[in-house]
């Protein structure tokens, strides 16, 4: 089981890692300790590998900053479930190997701090209040995630998965 961290709509990348703590500003080995430092103080200390973030609409909006996703990857986030995702954030997650799943009901079913289980095979996020259904990812994205990210996929296959 892992812990659910629940956020609202329009969570932007500045809330995930404020620009002033970009790796570019604080160095490559430190920036993840500032994850949610303004929006959810204490997150970086309490989060555990496998924890799941849950959100509403437009999760990860704002800048193209991949380090927001890299910070979550460094903390070992097991997946993100939201009503919808901002497009660059969605790509960044796939590229860095974090499962991103759309779900209409997760944000209402899951409460912050719930013990949850992300069951990708069943397409469900299991929580004490019930199961939230996850929309299946395109096979293209699934293949990249299965490899652990786009870099690993390309190293193995030399080219993108088929889009046909």
């Amino acid at each position: 089981m892992s812990r659910a961290w629940v956020f609202g709509d329009d969570l932007d990348t500045d809330q995930i890692v404020p620009g002033r703590y970009a790796p570019f500003m604080v160095g490559q080995d430190k920036f993840h300790i500032y994850a949610f430092c303004d929006a959810r103080p204490g997150f970086a200390k309490e989060v555990r590998p496998g924890d799941v973030l849950v959100g509403g609409e437009n999760f990860g909006c704002g800048s193209s900053r991949e380090y927001a996703v890299a910070a979550l990857a460094k903390h070992g986030i097991g997946g993100i479930v939201a009503k919808s995702f901002a497009r660059i954030f969605f790509r960044n997650c796939i590229n860095l190997g974090i499962p991103v799943l759309e779900s209409e009901d997760a944000v209402t079913v899951v409460r912050d701090g719930d013990a949850v289980m992300l069951d990708l095979a069943a397409g469900l996020l299991r929580a004490p209040g019930g199961d939230a259904r996850l929309r299946p990812l395109a096979p293209f994205a699934q293949e990249i995630l299965a490899a652990g990210g786009v870099v690993a996929y390309l190293r193995e296959h030399g080219d993108f998965p088929s889009v046909e």
Binding site: A22, F24, D38, N58, S63, R65, E66, S84, N95, F140
Partner: protein, 473 residues
């Protein structure tokens, strides 16, 4: 509260044969060399890849992890030092040094170092954006390239590393939203107000994964088109493309009868100046609802509003006058070209004489990394594009967004106000307006002494030397 427009029918059926295409479908069909329809995944060549300083470490690491020593084509890569430039800290300076080393060893000739300007401004004004092609950039405002009819998309560092390695990227063919402008804006109303009105209608996620197609804007000055295309990012758009620009080739037009997921029309002739209220870009109100809001700092600049025309609009208000002694005004031209044009015609002299701090060309304080970052409790009126919590410094600062005219009046009075009466006022009426507004803003900041209050003498000298006796906005 944000205003979300109702979606019209977004269902589009595709039969056999080629249906009428949006601009996005046309461009992606052409570059993918197949019939690309909404929802298709396509792998497409990119005509250029833009990389900037704040992500270069991750991009270099990505290339290395991919096992690629060289970029796929050194002539199609453009590199910029603009996000934190000149370097504000030793960590940033080291990162810039690594970037320069990488540029040299890769043999990349298209390199613009600190002070040359914002990547997007240079990409467009120096002609690096080929209309009708796909360009990816490591910055979310890479949508700006739609100002000249290119499909510009912002991506993260790993996507950029992959594009640098392969010369290709993958895209889902986006739905399109048609935005049509009609009429002409009244004096004191700008295309910044127009795009903020569109963001107000569509919302920060209303164009998610979509392409915003601008109609009725092709003949606007290039700078206005950059303002429009760049701010489509604030609606979640993948791209924002202006139809019928002078740069566009003959084939680059949306087909009659193309299907749109949503349509928005803005009548410029009745448009009011718009203000985005923190902390949301789509929390936009007519200026009348924000009048009297005190400000401490005014920022004029960014890829959205750092061009000569924007500085001229501010100068039209500030020329021969002095900003409120309790307000700081920072002006950051968006490129060296804009900087020098504004020097040559006396605009920067007017702004400096009014009390502005002029920063070197680049992103400036827009993203809170360099220049005048904000303290807690401070209120900023910015001409840039984002007002998220913490964007320009302290998470406890507030950022209102508006046009250069609004920025100039805010700097002058210390409060947000409708700029239009100032542009029509006689000198006496003008001074009266300023005095009244300043009186409303008591008990904030501290009055700064200007080092040599020479505003009028400087302007007289400038006029004598033949520079910019009159500035026509």
């Amino acid at each position: 509260m944000p205003v979300h427009s109702r979606w019209t029918s977004s269902i589009r059926s595709f039969g056999s044969g080629s249906l009428p295409k949006t601009l996005a479908e046309k461009i992606l069909s052409r570059v993918a060399a197949r019939d690309a329809k909404v929802g298709d995944l396509v792998i497409v060549p990119v005509s250029r890849v833009m990389v900037h300083d704040s992500v270069v470490d991750a991009v270099i690491a990505g290339l290395r992890d991919l096992g690629k020593e060289r970029v796929w084509d050194t002539t199609k890569v453009a590199v910029f030092v603009d996000h934190a430039a000149p370097a504000p800290t030793p960590v940033v300076a080291d990162s810039h040094r690594v970037l320069r080393e990488w540029v040299r060893t890769q043999g990349i000739a298209t390199f613009y170092d600190a002070g040359e300007g914002v990547c997007h401004q240079i990409m467009v004004e120096e002609g690096y954006c080929e209309p009708g092609t796909v360009i990816v950039g490591s910055d979310s405002h890479s949508n700006s390239y739609g100002a000249v009819g290119a499909f510009g998309a912002g991506m993260g560092a790993t996507d950029i590393a992959v594009a640098l390695a392969l010369g290709r990227t993958w895209l889902r063919v986006p739905e399109s939203i048609k935005v049509t402008f009609t009429g002409r804006p009244r004096k004191g109303v700008t295309m910044k107000d127009a795009i903020m009105r569109v963001v107000r209608e569509i919302g920060t996620d209303g164009a998610r994964y979509a392409c915003v197609e601008f109609h009725g804007a092709g003949s606007l000055p290039q700078g206005d088109r950059i303002t429009l295309a760049g701010m489509t990012t604030e609606m979640g758009a993948k791209a924002g493309i202006v139809v019928a620009t002078p740069e566009a080739p003959d084939w680059l037009f949306p087909d009659h009868g193309a299907a749109y997921a949503n349509e928005v029309t803005v009548d410029l002739s009745t448009l009011e100046p718009q203000i985005a209220v923190p902390p949301r870009v789509d929390q936009v109100v007519d200026v009348s609802e924000a009048v009297g809001q005190p400000v401490d700092v005014v920022f004029l600049g960014s890829c959205t509003n750092g061009r000569l025309v924007d500085m001229r609009q501010a100068a039209a208000v500030l020329r021969g006058r002095r900003i409120s002694p309790e307000v700081r005004l920072e002006v950051v031209p968006s490129s060296r070209r804009q900087f020098e044009d504004a020097m040559a015609d006396g605009t920067l002299l007017s702004l400096s004489a009014a009390g502005a701090v002029i920063g070197s060309s680049g992103c400036g304080p827009c993203l809170g990394r360099t220049g005048g970052v904000l303290a807690g409790q401070e209120v900023c009126l910015s001409t840039a594009n984002r007002n998220y919590r913490g964007r320009m410094g302290s998470a406890d600062a507030s950022i209102f967004i508006g046009s250069p005219y609004v920025a100039a009046v805010a700097a002058l009075t210390g409060v947000i106000d409708d700029p239009r009466p100032y542009l029509e006022a006689t000198d006496a009426e003008f001074d009266d307006l300023v005095a009244r507004r300043r009186a409303e803003r008591a008990g904030r900041g501290a009055a700064s002494v200007r080092s040599g209050d020479r505003a009028r003498e400087l302007m007289v000298a400038a006029a004598r030397s033949g520079v910019a006796a009159e500035i026509d906005d």
